[in-house]
Structure formats: C-alpha cells, structure tokens
Amino acid sequence: MRSVASTVLTLVLFATYLGIGALAHDTHFSLGWVLASTVLVWAGPAQIILISTLGSGATVVQAAIAVTVSAIRLFPMVVSVLPMMRTEQTKRRHLVLATHFIAVTLWVECFRLFPQVPRERRIAFTHGLGIGLCSVCLFATTLGYGLAANLPPLLGAAILLLTPLAFLLSTARNCRQLSDVLALVLGLALFPLVSLLQTGVDILISGISAGTIAYGVHRWRERQ
C-alpha cells in the first residue's frame, strides 16, 4: 500500500479517472457502467476512446476497432515486464491477473520498484499494487461522476479539461524518440482536419496516418 500512496503517478491517474467519471456523466453513461469499465478495461486511453466514440454516436464495431488499436501498446508492455516476474515454478495461469493489471502506470512502477522486491514475491506485489491503484481509480471515477452531476458548469468544465491535460503531458513525458514526438504533434494536428470528413472513424484515420508518417520520418533519419 505504501507503494500506491507514494507514487506521483497516482496523482496523475487520480486526475485522469476524475476526468473519466465526469466524461461518462456528460455523455450519459450510468455510474455502474463506468465503474465496470474501470475494472474490466483498466486502461485510461481505451476507456476515454470507448466513452467518447460511443457517446458521439459511433457503432459498437467502430468503437471496438478504435479501442483495440489503442490497446496494441499494452502488448510490448506485457512482453517486457513479465520476464521480471517469472520464476522456474511460475505457470502461465499464475500470471493472468497480474497481466490484466498491466497498464502504463503499473508498467512504469514495476520497473522502478521491482529491484526492491524478491523475485518470488513479485506476482503478489503486482496484485497488491494493481488492486490498490484500481481502488483509488474507482474512487476517483465515482467522485468525478458525482462532481460533474452536482457542480456548477465552470467547475465541471475544469474537471473535463483534466483529461486532455493529463494525457497530453504524460504522453509528452513518455516520448522516447523522435518518432514518438512527431506522432504526438501530427496526431494532434491531423485530427481536426480528418474530422471535417465525418467518417465515423476519424480517430483511426488520423492516428494511423500520423503514426505512419512519424515512423517514416524516423526510418528516413536512420538511413541518413
């Protein structure tokens, strides 16, 4: 529990989930639904994509495609963190719950905290950290939902602004290479243009094209 309380990222996570709760309220989802999404999906970006695409009238298939593309980044995270938890006796099924908890915050914290945890206790440690963070987020979701319902519009707007701010800044902080920075900037710039086309999959089109251009520039620079 001390690890949960002491991380700065917990504050950012709290702000994000306050925003998710408020967003769910303003797009007319029920509180139970958004809490279930926090437990089952357990990935802030995917939840925001899910809520905002469904809320703006996209079909289930369109929302699912947008969510699954955003979730691809979980794959390299899982691949890189699981070897640190395994021992010779570890079976795959022992890792299922720990794998479910892996999202960007937990992934970063595992790299920071694992060196202090004996290997055979790391799975239990991950479960504890995951359940702790998830409880904090459930509380934040409920609080954000309640605040959006009861606060004057100005403060409600302030809570909704938390989501883009927290995501923009934490993504900017995680940028490791030129391709990440370019993808962020191009992604921000392309969406308003693509949204004029009103395709229903604007996010996918702008995201895949901006990401691919960013990757192309990265390749081109490496060849120079």
């Binding site: 989802f29 970006p45 289930v60 390299p76 927290a166 993808a183 962020l184 921000l188």
Partner: protein, 114 residues
Amino acid sequence: MSDFIGDWHALLVLVIAGFLPNEVWRMLGLWFGGGIDEGSELLVWVRAVATAILAGVIAQILVLPPGSLASIPDWLRYGAVAAGFAVFMLTRRSIFAGVVGGEAVMLAGKWWLG
C-alpha cells in the same frame, strides 16, 4: 445512448467494444511474448500509431468538447492547454505543475469573461 443505460445491453457493449478488444493484447503478450525484441521496428511503428491515436483523442475532446466543457470558448480551451504545456516545459516536465497551470488559465479566463 439513453435507451440502454444500465441494462444488460449496455454491459454487453462494454464487453464487446471495450473489454475484449483491449484485453486481447495483454493476453497475446502473455502467450506469445517470449521472442519479441522491445526495440524492434514493428514496435516502434506500433508505438507511434498508438501515440497518434491518443493525440487524436486529446484533440477530439478539445475540438468537439463534451458536456459542460462546451461552455468554454474555443480559444480559451486551446489557450489553457497551450499554457499548461508551457508550464510543463518550464518546470522540467512536471505533469502536476502543467495540469495546475492549464486549469488556472482556464478558470481565470472564464472568470474574466464573466
């Protein structure tokens, strides 16, 4: 949306559009993760696309704001986020300072407008 809030249909949509498409990547990582190099070119592209999609979501919330955020004028929303980013850069990438700065600009701007 309001015709399926809180019933089994809403939960089914959550599972099909949210839980399964998200969880599949975690489980694929658990099953097939052994032989993939974290620095591989494929993962560089995947990360760039994932980052750009998230950027698109951020832009969507700012350009087509939901609920009460729509009561804030366009220029003030963009200005507040730009100010938050400037504070973030000036404070050696402090997310906390950037978020507080951006929120302060939005609240002050709206208060000033009356």
